[in-house]
């Protein structure tokens, strides 16, 4: 599982690749730290290459959302495949995030 953070068009993009299970979540949490300094920039969570997410991963996404909202920034998700989308739907997270 790898997490990369890029900046594109004035937005911060976090690209996830692989399986974000509970074990991987430990590391991913650290990898997402740079997003905290997102003043003036919206965040995009790119799940195009994300194969799997469990509740730990969802928790991380939620943290990002809460943090960005506190700073007045928006968070978008892009590139969910059907499986990932199902998980978001089951948990209702689909309503929390805007899709891009």
């Amino acid at each position: 599982m790898t997490t990369t953070i890029q900046e594109r068009d004035g937005q911060l993009v976090a690209v996830f690749e692989g399986r974000l299970d509970t074990a991987a979540a430990v590391q991913t949490e650290k990898d997402l730290q740079p997003l905290e300094s997102c003043e003036g920039k919206d965040i995009i969570l790119d799940c195009t290459t994300l194969d799997y997410i469990s509740s730990s991963g969802l928790r991380l996404f939620l943290n990002v959302l809460k943090m960005a909202k506190a700073k007045g920034r928006q968070v978008f998700i892009s590139g969910m495949n059907n499986d990932i989308r199902n998980v978001f739907t089951m948990t209702g997270f689909i309503n929390l995030f805007e899709l891009k």
């Binding site: 299970d21 939620l62 089951m90 948990t91």
Partner: protein, 798 residues
Amino acid sequence: MKFLNKILNDSVATRTSLLVFVLITIIMLTGGFYQMKRVRDVVADETNRQAGRAMDGVLADIDSRISNVETAVATAAAFADRDTQDESLCYELLYRLISKNNDIAAATLLYRDSFFPNLGRYYAPTVTRDPQTGELAADEIGGPDNDFCYIETDSNWIYTNLLEEGYWCLPYVDSMSTKRAMVTYSVPLYDAKDSIYAVLCADVALDWVRDIVEDAKPYPYSRVIVLSRDSQYVCHPEPEWIQSVNVIDQATQMQDSDFLNLASRMLSWKRGTDTLQENVTYMTPGDKAHDESTIVYYAPVPRVQWAVSFTMPESKIMEQPNLLWRSMLILLVVMLVLISIVLNLVVRAQIWPLKQLALATQEIAQGHFDKPLPRIHTRDEIRNMRDSFEEMQTSLSHYIDELQASTAAKASIQSELKVASEIQMSMLPKLFPPYPERDDIDIFGALTPAKAVGGDLYDFFIRDEKLFFCIGDVSGKGVPASLVMAVTRSLFRTISLHESQPDRIVTQINNTLSNQNESNMFVTLFVGVLDLPTGRMRYCNAGHDSPLLVGDGVGFLPCDSNIPAGVMENWKYTLQEASIDPQTTIFLYTDGLTEAEDINHGQFGEQRILAVAEEVLQAQQQTPNHIIKMMTTAVSNFVGEAEQSDDLTMLAIQYTKHQLAIRYRNELIITNDVKEVPRLAEFVEEACETVHFDMATTMQLNLALEEAVVNVIDYGYPAGTKGEIHIEAQANEQRLKFTITDSGVPFDPTAKEEVDTTLSAEERPIGGLGIHLVRQIMDSINYERLNGHNVLTLRKKI
């Protein structure tokens, strides 16, 4: 009669008028009669008086006229000698006599035979007065034709001869000249030898008698009758009867004894009054023959030996009074009619307000309670009645309003009760079979409340492959019991969502009920949790009847009685366990079954329940439907006509699990470290492949398993402790199940509340997502605590 009835009873005015009319008529008629009698008496008296006076007058008149004649003749006789000797001087005498007396119609000297030898045998000079002209004419009427003068004949002369004094003869009709009724006064003339040589006669026509009497009669309608001493009529209204009818003969012929008596009396020269009652045609000719009451006044004229009588028909006497009477009656009738009419109108007018009142009251009686009563301006009894009516109307109106309100309230209570009953009934599971898709459980329940709403309850639901069920009986009946029943059921449902241990469920129910229990109502309760995969039942009894187990024989489930819920807070309820074999039916009931009464107050009792169960088991038909049906029939037959005394509730649960053959089995053991999580993926994939799940499902199962295991890793063992987690995969033809076992602290992930996925990010708690996902993905999750291990089973249908 009916008509009279109608008149009397239909109208006050008519009745009053009629009564007044009748009364006044009676009074006035009575008075009238009395008065009339007096009037009649007065009139009779007056008539008598008048008649008397008239009679006196007549008598006096007749008497005077006759005495005048008598005196004239006597005087002439006294001095007759001078003239009588000469046959022409006698005419002078006669002229003198007749001219001085208008009453004398003829004066005659009757010489005895051959007194004047040269004049023949018979010599009777006479001077007559013409009745019409009054001229006097002399004549000589002696001759054999006038034989009354002579001694030889049987005539008056004889009597004259025999008398020494003047003599009035009987009346006769003057056949010679004028055919008038006459009477003659004769005075004998004596010569020196004292023998009669001549008779001086003066004829008196009796016309004047009639005239006198006619003039003197007291009333125009009186009739005069004069009788002479030979019972002949001297005077009579019927001129032909004069001197031709003998009254005695007549009376005798008529066979009229009264008349006869009267005539006799008259001819006895009596004076008096008589009343005759017969046909008086002979007295008053010209009238029609009729019986009439006639009054006769009679008196004698002794000088000539006549009897004079006045007759007066009583009808004539009483003519005036009768007219008066008649006119009085007419007046009375007219007056009474007028009075009646006026009275009728007046009473009607007085009664009119009553009539209006009656009409208004009628309208009020139709239901228009607001109709105002007519105004009455007087302050009399009618006004009083109207005011009383008004009071009555007002109070009636209020009463009706109150009644309507209370009836409406009652009706609304009734309808609310009905709705409450419907609500209560709808709270019970009533769709049977409730889980047709399941093959391991069959349930049937029946509840018949004694009143509209009852205090019995049963409930069941399946959560995480466990059947939670309960049955209970609230103390009392009716609305209060039904309210407690509703509360208890809600508590059962709510608490069981996160609590799987029956004793803890009961404890919480008990604490809540006891806490709020001001009315000291309590519930006997039996709560059971049947683990459907294993048939293991945990239960807790709170004062309720022990259920029956019908399977391997018939017997009661051993139950601690504890105490009913709601009695005492913080009571420690005991947890019990039993293993239910497949095909066994758990039969639960309330004391409405055991205590069902027949008309003799005998109870159904446990023995009968056992008997029915035995019978059912014998036939190997212990399905819930059948058992309850048999019980219902048995109770119904037992109770018969008696009224249902308590709510009757039964719940039957049959465990019908079949063990299916296991097709696949695998296990994995990991340590409680998240790093082990990736190992799950492979494990799950292999199991899923065996049962031919697609990739999406496999991924989901992977997720579910990860969440479940991570839960155990996070909470299962105390922090820092190392522990093992054992995961087993098992598949039969129906499902794939994963069983996660650990020996950590007792932790029931299914007891956590559902995550509210509708909350926003800010509101969303961090935890709880894992179990939520597991529930979403798996068909069922099931937790058991067995032998110090947490055993979580996840199942997915194939």
